[in-house]
């Protein structure tokens, strides 16, 4: 298929068929989520369940791919669905315009192969980690601020977020206070999407470690956490 011609041989034709059968939950359709959804759909992941309870605001325009001056005030999940319909109609996008909660987490994860943590706050990230653990599926975590980004693959039970976010730090409200650049978001999301694809294809990837991106000093560092 011409659509995927330039995926090969980075991804084999057999792997391409495998991706078409996979379902990924993306929680958060803002900065990271927008780019991750775009990458997964273009590479050819067949089913995306995208979750976000927010609508676009003007302050999102500096970094969120799916936001535009045309869709301010509209649900982020709807923008994701429309964008992917235009980019790759072979991908099924389930748009779920709600926030992740303790009550809906299990249902949102149902039938998914990987959970993508594209959230913007620590409590919800911890909730997703717990839900993915209960569901027995891996989670690909990413976070950004300023010129920095981070990506981790968290297998069920590894609980790497407990290391990254000690209890004493969980109520700083840090995420809402700092700057975030489009460059950091796009770069970090690309790594996050790559790890997601490798998990879907059972390829080796990050394991018990965090990948730290610093776009100001141009460093990419892997740090062992467990």
């Amino acid at each position: 298929m011409l659509r995927y011609q330039r995926n090969h041989d980075a991804i084999s034709e057999v792997e391409q068929a495998i991706l078409a059968e996979k379902r990924v939950l993306v929680v958060g359709c803002g900065g990271l989520g927008g780019y991750v959804i775009e990458c997964l759909a273009r590479v050819g992941v067949g089913h995306l369940r995208v979750v976000d309870g927010d609508v676009f605001e003007e302050s999102n325009l500096n970094r969120q791919l799916l936001s535009s001056t045309m869709n301010l005030g509209r649900p982020k999940t709807l923008a994701a669905q429309q964008r992917i319909m235009a980019v790759n109609p072979m991908v099924e996008v389930q748009a779920i315009p709600t926030l992740l909660t303790v009550d809906n987490a299990e249902e949102l994860l149902s039938g998914c192969d990987v959970a993508v943590d594209a959230l913007d706050n620590i409590p919800d990230r911890l909730l997703l980690q717990q839900a993915a653990k209960s569901a027995g599926i891996p989670m690909v975590h990413a976070a950004v601020t300023s010129w920095l980004g981070r990506v981790c693959v968290i297998k069920p039970g590894e609980d790497l977020l407990n290391i990254l976010y000690p209890i004493e730090t969980r109520n700083t409200g840090e995420e809402g206070l700092t700057s975030i650049l489009a460059t950091s978001v796009a770069a970090t999301a690309a790594f996050q999407a790559a790890e997601t694809i490798k998990l879907l294809l059972s390829r080796p990837g990050l394991q018990g470690e965090t990948l730290e991106l610093d776009l100001l000093n141009m460093t990419v560092t892997k740090i062992k956490l467990i």
Binding site: G31, L32, G33, A118, D120, L148, I163, Y165, E175, I223
Partner: protein
Amino acid sequence: MIKVNTEDYPWHSGMTVRNLLDEKLFTFRHIIVRINGKYVPEEDYEHFTIRDGDDVIVLHLIAGG
């Protein structure tokens, strides 16, 4: 010698967490420090002494999306 973020780093007697952060120019507002896996709160940075051979992880607190 100690490990800082999995790389070797020279140790000196009396080295505190604050000394290390200053030497390594970790100046971000919110920093997470773990020594041999154990979290070190910010209020202890001035007097917490790093021992030779310690495994130190210093991370930024990042949570935005």
